[in-house]
């Protein structure tokens, strides 16, 4: 089913933000916003948050345990060799490898998680609402499905009043987000 959207395009950060604030206050269905650079107020207004740091913490925990287990298995159980008279399980000299492999594991797993959650990977064709959003425009996309035409219209005029340079209606057959 085709979905229709009301799209407001701004060329100044202040106008874009004040418009987003009022849209948010009046509880319009803000589908998403697109900006050329990250703006923290947007995250607060749209209540976007990321649990990636928490996940990264657990990746790190997993990596530490896995690395130490691997080192213990190879150096103590599988093929013990005495190096310089030190014990098989010479923990202090395992620390370095553990640190490095933890960093590497956290990086790779966090990147993979980022890629999966944000749906960003090679060949991915995410829907682009307005091509100018990666250059110099700030774009607000409002959900405008059939039942709510009047509401979407109001949102359009609100954005226009707040200084949008353009307000467009667009329909998309399917959305990749």
């Amino acid at each position: 089913m085709a979905r229709s959207f009301k799209i407001g395009i701004f060329d100044e950060e202040e106008k874009f933000l004040s418009s987003l604030r009022s849209l948010n206050e009046q509880e319009f269905m803000i589908y998403d916003v697109f900006t050329p650079y990250p703006i923290h107020e947007v995250f607060h207004l749209l209540k976007r948050r990321s649990r990636l740091p928490t996940a990264a913490y657990f990746f790190g925990l997993f990596a530490i345990v896995a690395t130490l287990a691997f080192l213990y298995y190879t150096s103590v159980i599988d093929w013990p060799i005495v190096y310089g008279g030190k014990p098989f399980n010479s923990f202090p000299s395992f620390i370095v490898v553990t640190i490095i492999l933890t960093i590497l594991t956290v990086t790779i797993l966090s990147l993979a998680l980022f890629s999966a959650r944000s749906k960003l990977f090679p060949g991915r064709d995410n829907t682009i609402f307005d091509r100018r959003a990666t250059n110099d425009k700030f774009v607000i996309v409002i959900d405008a499905d059939d039942r709510d035409m009047t509401k979407a219209g109001k949102a359009g005029s609100l954005m226009k009043d707040q200084g949008a340079i353009e307000v467009l209606d667009k329909e998309f057959e399917s959305i990749n987000e």
């Binding site: 060329d11 950060e13 998403d32 916003v33 697109f34 900006t35 050329p36 650079y37 990250p38 947007v42 995250f43 749209l46 976007r48 948050r49 990321s50 990636l52 740091p53 790190g60 080192l71 190879t74 150096s75 599988d78 093929w79 060799i81 190096y83 030190k86 010479s90 395992f94 370095v96 490898v97 490095i100 492999l101 960093i103 590497l104 956290v106 990086t107 790779i108 966090s110 990147l111 980022f114 959650r117 944000s118 749906k119 960003l120 990977f121 090679p122 060949g123 991915r124 064709d125 995410n126 829907t127 682009i128 609402f129 091509r131 100018r132 959003a133 990666t134 250059n135 110099d136 987000e177």
Partner: protein
């Protein structure tokens, strides 16, 4: 907070967002000019010669190098440590300054990270070749094998080094690429060329600039930055342990890890400065890489140079204070005086004395001055590694082991080859990848500009 009255705007010329995109992408659209092709030809020639020398090394063995029984680590290790040091710039720049929220990093970090990637690749070549039988290099991976399974020695700094450098390369590449995503999408959405649209579309992974993307992107940057900062410190500390666990006089020292890390950041920042002086001159990007940026790097260099000077003094002092005759011999008869005194004093002059010129504002604001000092630091840091590796090995405990060391043409050729490889990489980077992080520049465009107050 950022004080505009003191520091001036981060980006000059009151750029609009569109202008920033134009300015950064422009060098990729226009033909780069004669100098680029000339430099590219020169760098490729050096790289080809290096490839030939590598072929000779692999075909005949490392007997073609100047190394011998006493000096088992020759130019290869000197060059390896030098390149790895330079490779610290990118991460030091983008990660330390990201965590410290120094937003002036935005115009420089992309180029610094590119440098890192090519420098680390150049560095990694040397230990691989030094193994002698490069086709068996995979033995160093700890994988279940049919030789026992015999595992690698996890207690050895040489293995730590291998782990650290592999991890460092992978992480720098991913950090660099992650930062590039929004900019690749910018090019995809702006270009009219079909080939570019497809290529940059593929590599931008479907980035749209959605708030969902941005929040995850930001938190991922901070997570990666936070943990990779540890890596910056650990990589060169481990390189230092390669030496410090040896019993050679002049190596067996606890000062080595911090001394090496500081040295690495020193040479890295110097290389960034060299590159930036050239880029802003050639591409006329002085609005983005302002005099204030160069000034800031110069100030960091003076500070690090003082640390380096202190470290050199400390080493000599401890050699004397220890009363150990071998240490005394190495420092007083084989470095300060003796066969390698030119290299020793060259190192002191280039690293500890010449950077002091940056106390003068005139030097910090003059591109010739910046280029002169940064190049001399690069030479000085190379001499420092030469000093450490070669002098200790040529004359150790037994006078019957004493030898002299001279590199062969093959040694020099491999080094020239890595310089060429680095050059080719940097030149291709200037041509095909936005040299500055466009989205980050846009984020700081208003800071300190007139719009804000």
């Amino acid at each position: 907070m950022y004080n505009r009255k003191i520091r001036g705007p981060l980006i000059e010329g009151n750029k609009t967002l569109g202008q920033i995109t134009e300015d950064v992408i422009n060098p990729m659209d226009v033909s780069p000019g004669m100098w680029w092709f000339l430099a590219f030809g020169l760098a490729s020639a050096a790289a080809v010669f290096g490839a030939y020398c590598i072929y000779i090394t692999v075909y005949k063995g490392i007997g073609t190098w100047g190394v011998n029984n006493s000096v088992a680590w020759g130019w290869a290790i000197v060059n390896f440590v030098w390149w790895i040091g330079i490779g610290h710039a990118g991460t030091a720049f983008s990660i330390f300054l990201l965590i410290l929220r120094q937003r002036w990093r935005t115009s420089i970090n992309r180029a610094a990270e590119a440098m890192t990637v090519f420098a680390v690749i150049s560095a990694a070549l040397f230990p691989a070749l030094h193994m002698g039988r490069i086709w068996l290099a995979f033995y160093i991976f700890p994988y279940p094998n049919t030789r026992g399974p015999l595992w690698v020695n996890f207690n050895s700094p040489l293995f730590w080094d291998f782990t650290a450098i592999t991890a460092y390369l992978l992480i720098s590449v991913s950090f660099w690429y992650l930062g590039m995503l929004p900019d690749l999408a910018t090019i995809r959405d702006k270009t009219i060329s079909k080939i570019r649209k497809t290529l940059y579309g593929f590599f931008s992974l479907g980035w749209t600039g959605s708030s969902r993307h941005w929040i995850r992107y930001e938190s991922l940057s901070f997570v990666l930055g936070g943990i990779a900062a540890v890596l910056v410190v650990s990589v060169h500390s481990i390189v230092a342990t390669d030496f410090a666990v040896g019993i050679e006089p002049g190596w067996h020292s606890t000062i080595f890890p911090p001394f090496f890390v500081v040295g690495a950041i020193f040479s890295g920042f110097a290389m960034v400065m060299t590159l930036m002086v050239i880029i802003r001159k050639v591409y006329k990007l002085t609005d983005y890489i302002t005099d204030n940026h160069m000034d800031a790097i110069a100030r960091i260099l003076i500070f690090i140079s003082l640390i380096m000077g202190t470290a050199y003094l400390t080493e000599v002092f401890v050699a004397w204070y220890s009363g150990n005759e071998y240490e005394m011999f190495t420092f007083f008869r084989n470095r300060i005086t003796g066969d390698y005194k030119i290299q020793f004093w060259g190192m002191v002059v280039c690293n500890a004395l010449i950077p002091q010129l940056f106390w003068f504002k005139k030097m910090r604001r003059n591109w010739m001055g910046l280029l002169f000092v940064s190049l001399s630091i690069n030479v000085g840091m190379w001499l420092e590694r030469f000093n450490i590796v070669i002098t200790s090995l040529t004359k150790d405990f037994l006078p019957s082991n004493w030898v002299s060391y001279t590199p062969t043409v093959i040694d020099i050729g491999v080094f020239a080859g890595t310089v060429g490889l680095f050059g080719v990489g940097v030149l291709l980077f200037m041509r095909y990848i936005p040299m500055m992080a466009i989205s980050e520049l846009k984020g700081v465009a208003h800071i300190g500009s007139k719009i804000e107050d």
